[in-house]
């Protein structure tokens, strides 16, 4: 097996996967550095009574190779439609897109050979065994017979399903099925893996497991991961995030960058005398920042909040007020979403934010 020179996937594997890069607007869409690139992508469907439903309205997206890219938006924002366009399952109404260097309209077979996709409601044949499901998929993707057996064993191992390979799929748990679905998509060694709501319908433990698994796979294979989600803490773990609402891209950047754009951290202090502390803080803080004193203590919003904590503490100490606790909380992605759309992503589960 001679690795051919200049092979894309190998080059992608060599890229530092966690590298965070800002989108570079001036570059042409065919830049080989991009795993996914779209310009003015539009998809509309005929709706009821002769109307036109615009699911995607002019999307410009650049996803670098080896990046884990989150596509964040509420249900019905156009996330799944965008994935269908990028996988050449649906034809764009206008605009164009390249995935793994191939055009989705003119080279759909090449695109599909290069991508794997985990659908929101993916399906396995429940009557067949784990191994049989994988073999059928491998043959559908045209793998030669001698490769099918080897690849099947190779993808089962990281999925932790080797000892279950002869089990019928209906005997697997939800998390195992999801891992099997991911394993199935790796059979043909895709360079871009689309994951449409990969953890929907799983319990928190299984969700954490799936993410652990995805991160391990990404570090191992160097594939580009394109993840749609409406779970904020899942987006938090990605290299870059694009926020989509109503078929439009409303913001794009690193989780940190997006939050920094919204700006201000919430600095909260608990002191021995909150009433007086409020006055002291108001003097020490920038002039146009309202200081609130409530049951939680004294708090205000300032940019770069953690840098303010020592200064505020020093001012309070100088006035003889003891500081019991101080915290600076950066804006959440929900704040970011609210900032750009005026609404909150309501379906956020009540789990603690990621932000490893």
């Amino acid at each position: 097996m001679q690795p051919s020179a200049g092979d894309d996937a190998l080059a992608a594997a060599a890229l530092p996967t966690a590298e965070v890069t800002a989108p570079r607007a001036g570059e042409p869409p065919h830049d080989p550095g991009y795993a996914i690139s779209t310009r003015g992508l539009v998809k509309s469907y005929p709706g009821p009574d002769g109307t036109t439903v615009k699911a995607v309205r002019g999307l410009d997206l650049d996803v670098r190779r080896g990046e884990t890219f989150a596509f964040l938006g509420p249900n019905g924002a156009g996330k799944s439609t965008t994935i269908a366009l990028l996988c050449a399952l649906a034809r764009p109404t206008s605009g164009h897109a390249t995935v793994a260097g191939f055009d989705v309209v003119t080279q759909p077979h090449d695109v599909r050979r290069q991508v794997g996709i985990l659908f929101q409601h993916s399906a396995l044949d429940p009557d067949l065994t784990v191994e049989q499901n994988l073999r059928i998929h491998a043959r559908l993707y045209g793998l030669p017979r001698r490769d099918v057996r080897r690849r099947t064993a190779e993808v089962l191992e990281p999925a932790g399903l080797t000892d279950r390979r002869r089990f019928p799929v209906r005997a697997l748990s939800g998390g195992m099925r999801r891992r099997l679905e991911i394993a199935r998509q790796l059979l043909h060694s895709p360079s871009v893996l689309f994951l449409d709501e990969p953890t929907t319908g799983l319990d928190p433990h299984a969700r954490a497991e799936i993410w652990e698994h995805l991160r391990a796979l990404r570090d191992r294979l160097g594939s580009t991961l394109f993840v749609t989600t409406h779970y904020l803490e899942e987006a938090e773990n990605c290299d870059r995030i694009a926020i989509i609402d109503g078929g439009r891209l409303v913001a794009q950047g690193t989780p940190h960058g997006l939050k920094a754009e919204v700006g201000d951290d919430r600095v909260a202090l608990r002191t021995s005398d909150d009433g007086r502390a409020g006055e002291v803080v108001a003097q020490a803080a920038p002039p146009d920042r309202p200081v609130t004193v409530d049951a939680d203590g004294t708090w205000l919003r300032v940019p770069d909040g953690s840098a303010w904590i020592p200064r505020l503490c020093a001012a309070l100490e100088a006035h003889g007020i003891a500081v019991h606790a101080a915290s600076a909380t950066p804006p959440t992605l929900d704040d970011v979403f609210f900032h750009h759309t005026g609404r909150s992503i309501t379906t956020t589960p009540a789990t603690t934010g990621g932000g490893r």
Binding site: D8, I136, G142
Partner: protein, 284 residues
């Protein structure tokens, strides 16, 4: 770790492999799936095979004493046999259509559509799988030939198997065309249960076409099941002339040549499949 990353160059080489080989592998995948399902759903297969056997012995056994052999040219059970063979291949043909609809609903179809091959190939694969499963089940029922007074003549069995393959191809194509068009499973089921019994009654499976009124005979000449039954019955007549049944398809009072009937079934099946494939390939 290296084992996984080093797969990529091979994938790139595969991209340059002949296109046709990929399409054939995809067809093989779908046929393989149908055969695996057949193997793991033994109880379902047994039930599918039980139905025609029950008709053959319960209905055929009861009516055999009432219907004189002279009016049919052969005993009633022997007369019924080709019809029951058709019934056997009809069920798996319908199952292919149902599977397409349930696969669409479960999301499995989308998974299949992601394969880097043309959609016509995928439909062809489904059709080939259904036809093969039908033939396998038909072959099992052929084992009953002795019980209805037919000899285990290898040529006769091969002819009947060939006839069943042809008929099941046509039927599978037709149900596929139907299931590509109708996306609602309820509509599909209702339409099929509405159509299947009349089609079977108007096929000459249970009683000779010539004993039916003129309009029914007219309908029979456009009933693919009737051609299937007629084809099988004439195969029997060819090898076992003393068991030859009366009647059958007639065009303006004359029996069309056997090969023309077979060609017609093949052509109808092929054209239907082509139409279904075109419809299936329409971009969304």
């Amino acid at each position: 770790m290296t084992a996984l990353t080093l797969q990529a160059p091979q994938a790139a080489e595969r991209g340059r492999a002949p296109r046709l080989r990929h399409e054939l592998r995809a067809i093989h995948a779908l046929v393989h799936r149908d055969l695996l399902r057949l193997a793991c759903q033994r109880s379902h297969t047994a039930l599918v095979l039980l139905q025609p056997a029950v008709y053959l012995f319960a209905l055929g056994g009861g009516l055999a004493t009432l219907i004189p052999a002279a009016s049919l040219g052969t005993g009633y059970q022997t007369y019924l046999f080709p019809g029951m063979l058709m019934m056997t291949v009809q069920t798996p043909a319908i199952m292919v259509g149902i599977r397409l609809i349930t696969d669409r609903q479960s999301g499995y179809l989308r998974e299949v559509l992601m394969a880097p091959v043309s959609r016509s190939t995928l439909l062809l694969g489904s059709c080939a799988g259904g036809t093969l499963v039908a033939a396998v089940q038909g072959a099992v029922l052929l084992g009953l030939a002795g019980a209805v007074g037919l000899p285990y003549d290898p040529v006769l069995l091969l002819l009947l198997l060939g006839g069943m393959l042809l008929a099941s191809f046509t039927l599978t194509s037709m149900t596929l065309a139907l299931s590509v068009t109708l996306r609602s499973p309820e509509l599909f089921h209702t339409l099929l249960s509405l159509l299947m019994m009349p089609l079977l009654f108007l096929s000459g499976a249970f009683f000779p076409l010539e004993s039916m009124p003129g309009w029914a005979r007219g309908l029979a000449t456009v009933n693919p099941l009737a051609y299937g039954v007629d084809l099988l019955r004439r195969c029997i007549a060819l090898r076992v002339p003393d068991q030859a049944a009366v009647g059958g398809i007639q065009w303006a009072g004359r029996q069309p040549p056997l090969l023309l009937e077979a060609g017609l079934l093949l052509a109808v099946g092929g054209l239907t499949l082509l139409w279904a494939a075109r419809r299936f390939s329409r971009p969304e």
